[in-house]
Amino acid sequence: MIPIFDANEIRLISPEIVLTASAFLLLWLATLKDAAVRRFVPGLALLACAATLGALLAFPAHLGLAALRAPSLTIGFNGMFILDAWSIFAKVIFLLGAMLTILISRRYLEEERAQGAEYYALILFAVVGMMFLASAGDFVAIFVALETMALSFYILVGFLKTNRKSNEAALKYFLLGSFSTGLLLYGISLVYGTTGTTNLGLIGMTRAQQAMNVAGAPFFFLGVILVTVGLAFKIAAVPFHMWAPDAYEGAPTPITAFLSTGSKAAAFVVLARIFAISFLKLGDHWAPLLSILAVASMTLGNVAAILQDNVKRMLAYSSISHAGYLLMGVIAVGVGTTVEEREFGLQGVLLYLLIYTFVNIGAFALVIMLRRDQVVGDRVVDFAGLSRRAPLPAFAMLVFMLSLAGIPSTAGFVGKWFLFGAVVKAHAPWLAVVAVVNSAISLYYYIRIVVMMYIRDPEDERRVVPSRGQTVAIAACVVFTIAVGLYPQPVIALAKESILSLTPWSP
């Protein structure tokens, strides 16, 4: 008998199996009428993420990061699934992001009267999608994983069934999301049609070169462009960002936090893999394309963020501009001429995704903390006098805002340092100039929140007390932000190790 899968291959996806099984378990719990059982659901979801994290980290613990670069150990399912250090680092980001999201969800759902075990199950399903996405070695796998993630998010965005804004957001997100998926799929089919394969590595090694040299080259380029556009939707890069502000504002706030970090990180991880592996040799062609997206995202995101009075919308636009910064890391891969130059960009992307996840979820946690019976807590003025109503959380928000603005001694600076450095190193300093000017502009709207918290008098003198979950999440985020800001050595070293699988050959 020929086994369908051999045991080694199953072992590669063991973390994903653990997570999927847990998600189904939660779904089953959701059908129970017993309210006592349901109370454990958030805890169980956390446990599931922790177990998955454990299963995941067993690989580098047993084999060492270096061994994970050997193809026999890491590639399974006919090249569909790649377990390399890059994907492990990314999966850690997703799982940590999911855990933080779960921590800040419980009180919020109580306030919204939208408790449901399926909410947590959907988060886990979304993470499963992200994890497969990070490991995808084939366009087909990318598509399936991306849809797993996106479908979960469509439902989560509209999870507040009685809230009109949430419904509107879900519909918008769904329609534009499906549209972008269509474009991505069309791009994939063109790439497949011109190269004859959907395997990322194979395209990169030989097929891209061949496809460029034949009459069908324009179709290949069109395919590359459409794949770029499809992913640009997911990372909310201008001009494909239209869904983001509405979806971010309408979605339940914890989901906004996860959407802007986890979903974006997943899209970036796969974007970087596609461009660093498959389309590397076309770097000269797609780097200008991404540069336009990056400049537009940074500039428009920042300018629009200045005009917002709603914190969720402001953070949505800020997240668009951060996508612009992140794109610079990928651009460095395209314009870089040496392996070191390209590595620097990829390191920047990984680090920034990790840092941004903690910082942004931390910021959203503060918005959630302000959610009270009648107060939605997402207006800028809701932060007025917070330093007196809740001194420690206000300090945390100060740290998050400074970190998003990239002020040194916070983690955000370390991330920006790598991304700006990547383009300087890769001889595209003009892009860095645009980026730093933008990063200075962005301070203006981040500091508005700080002004509210520390200088304005509160409208409502009552103290604000975060829930236990929120306290843990905010504390974790703020400790991470300051610790990495002051001593980034460990994470930088890890990121350095983790990107090597993406730079296997020179162009």
Binding site: I407, S409, F413, F420, V424, V451, Y454, I492
Partner: protein, 545 residues
């Protein structure tokens, strides 16, 4: 003692921050604890920094009291600190003014006392860090982190337009510093390509390797890096036309904030030019020299003219800063020993005299809650002690011999007169050449204007009839207030009468700097042709001396 000697910079720099962390845990209602605690910490810090003055070996040169620890080896960042004569003086100025600024806040700050003193102490650490850092990354961290406490200082305890002034200050300086960051990154990535070794942020290495380097690629790059640094430093100085944040920030800041801002923060810009631009980018420095000199001179004259027409006492002092910092820039960009020494000394002088002027304005403002010059007159009868101290500081500011200002300005002018006649512009069309001695002559005009606006201010406020009944109730200075001013006056006299110790300290580092600048005279600047000059104006090129 030996242990202390080898860690003195770290201890002096981080003691205020430690103190601030300690104060965090005190209940905010114990205002006396904060006032006395912060004063004590700042004073102890000042005492701890004093041995530097005696231990510094002026004859040895180079960086002393160095300490080096690995910080982020993955990208070559070290915790690397050390000082030479230039940073030594600025460091002592910082610890000295730190005590005085805190002492001056006792009565002025009644609101949110806890936060105020914590922020003042944190700011102190940030400023000291800038002067001791020998690692570019470390330098940048201090340089930018310091903006946050300063922002709060203006934003929370400032005047009516405090929010506008605070954000303007923050945005301006941040914009400058992020552009500077790009310059730092360019050096960081270029260095290993030259040496073939590991990447580093070591400032001394950049100076050693990149300073004397003369290959065409680097010479071209220097120009861009210089511009990136220039924006960062020029905004901080502030040089004309980047000065517009300064009057707002000064006028709105609380007194102590103004003292720190004028006394220390502005010096970081000039310090940046001396520490980084000149030794690392000598050829670009010479390339842009006419522009630098022109901006410096414009700053001197423009700042003085604008100061003259101010109705607001504090704004007048603020604009006088623009003028005085122009002097420092002129001296530094004279690129000779006298000029740079004078420029650095004038940085100290300006910190002392303008710091004191802001204190004096603050004292009046606390009593009258107005700063309009027209409201005052004849105060010398009501407040004789105040008038005396104000007179001395005024004389120091306008450069009267026996006081510090004279020594600085005189040395700068000596330097400026020896600027090679070639450094200048020919105005197209009329074919007038502006350069050489012109810069010094224009600067002298600035001195005359400076005397005019300061003496006119003194006349309008102190002399004449005491005709405003509000002023008749004014109290003269109390013991604590006198205590904030007398040390400054004493140092002003000391520098004015016996500046030798300071010149001795500056002698070696400045001589080394000038040597580096002259070493490459055969390079770009020597070959400069008129066509290589910035567009719009033709450069005469340095003429043979």
């Amino acid at each position: 003692m030996e242990w202390y000697q080898s860690h003195i910079l770290t201890i002096v720099t981080f003691l205020p921050l430690l103190g601030a962390l300690g104060l965090l845990f005190v209940n905010k209602d114990n205002t006396r604890v904060f006032i006395q605690g912060a004063t004590a910490i700042a004073f102890v810090d000042f005492l701890l920094s004093l041995p530097l003055f005696f231990w510094y070996d002026a004859g040895r040169g180079g960086f002393q009291f160095t300490e080096r620890l690995s910080w982020i080896p993955a990208i070559g960042v070290d915790y690397y600190v050390g000082i030479d004569g230039i940073s030594l003086l600025l460091m002592l100025l910082t610890t000295f003014l730190g005590v005085i600024a805190i002492l001056s806040s006792w009565a002025a700050i009644k609101d949110r006392v806890k936060e105020y003193y914590i922020i003042m102490l944190a700011l102190q650490t940030g400023m000291l860090g800038v002067f001791i850092a020998l690692d570019f990354f470390l330098f940048y961290v201090f340089w930018e982190v310091m903006l946050v406490p300063m922002y709060f200082l203006i934003g929370i305890w400032g005047g009516p337009r405090k929010l506008y002034a605070a954000i303007k200050f923050f945005l301006y300086t941040l914009l400058g510093s992020v552009l500077m960051l790009l310059g730092i990154l360019a050096l960081y990535f270029y260095y290993p390509r030259v040496t073939g070794g590991a990447a580093t942020f070591d400032i001394t290495e950049f100076i050693r390797v990149l300073g004397p380097l003369r290959n065409p690629e680097w010479l071209e790059m220097q120009k861009w890096v210089f511009l990136a640094f220039f924006v960062g430093f020029a905004i901080k100085v502030p040089m004309f036309p980047f000065h517009t944040w300064l009057p707002d920030a000064h006028v709105e800041a609380p007194t102590a904030g103004s003292v720190i801002l004028a006394g220390v923060l502005l010096k970081m810009g000039t310090y940046g030019f001396v520490r980084f631009s000149l030794p690392m980018l000598p050829e670009a420095t010479k390339y842009y020299l006419p522009w630098m000199l022109a901006l410096a001179v414009i700053g001197i004259v423009y700042g003085a003219l604008v100061a003259m027409v101010q109705k607001d006492w504090k704004k007048l002092v603020a604009y006088s800063s623009v003028s005085h910092l122009g002097f420092c820039m002129l001296g530094i960009f004279a690129l000779n020993e006298a000029g740079i020494r004078g420029g650095v000394l004038q940085m100290i002088n300006h910190g002392l005299s303008t710091g004191a002027l802001f204190l004096l304005v603050g004292l009046i403002y606390e009593r009258r809650h107005t700063r309009m010059i027209a409201e005052f007159g004849g105060l010398s009868k009501q407040m004789p002690v105040y008038a005396t101290l104000f007179m001395i500081i005024t004389m120091s500011s306008i450069g009267l011999p026996t006081l510090n200002g004279f020594i600085g300005e005189f040395t700068i002018l000596v330097g400026a007169f020896t600027i090679p006649s070639g450094y200048g512009f020919t105005i197209p069309g009329v074919n007038w050449f502006i350069g050489g001695k012109f810069w010094a002559v224009a600067a002298v005009l600035g001195i005359v204007l400076g005397a005019a606006y300061m003496l006119w201010l003194y006349q309008r406020t102190m002399f004449g009839k005491l005709d405003n009944p509000e002023n008749a109730k004014l109290q003269d200075l109390n013991g604590r207030e006198i205590l904030t001013l007398v040390p400054i006056v004493a140092v002003c006299f000391w520098i004015g009468l016996y500046p030798k110790p300071l010149f001795d300290i500056l002698q070696r580092p400045v001589a080394e700097l000038v040597q580096r600048l002259e070493a490459g005279d055969s390079g770009m600047a020597g070959d400069a042709t008129p066509s290589a000059a910035p567009a719009g104006m033709a450069s005469g090129g340095p003429a043979p001396q």
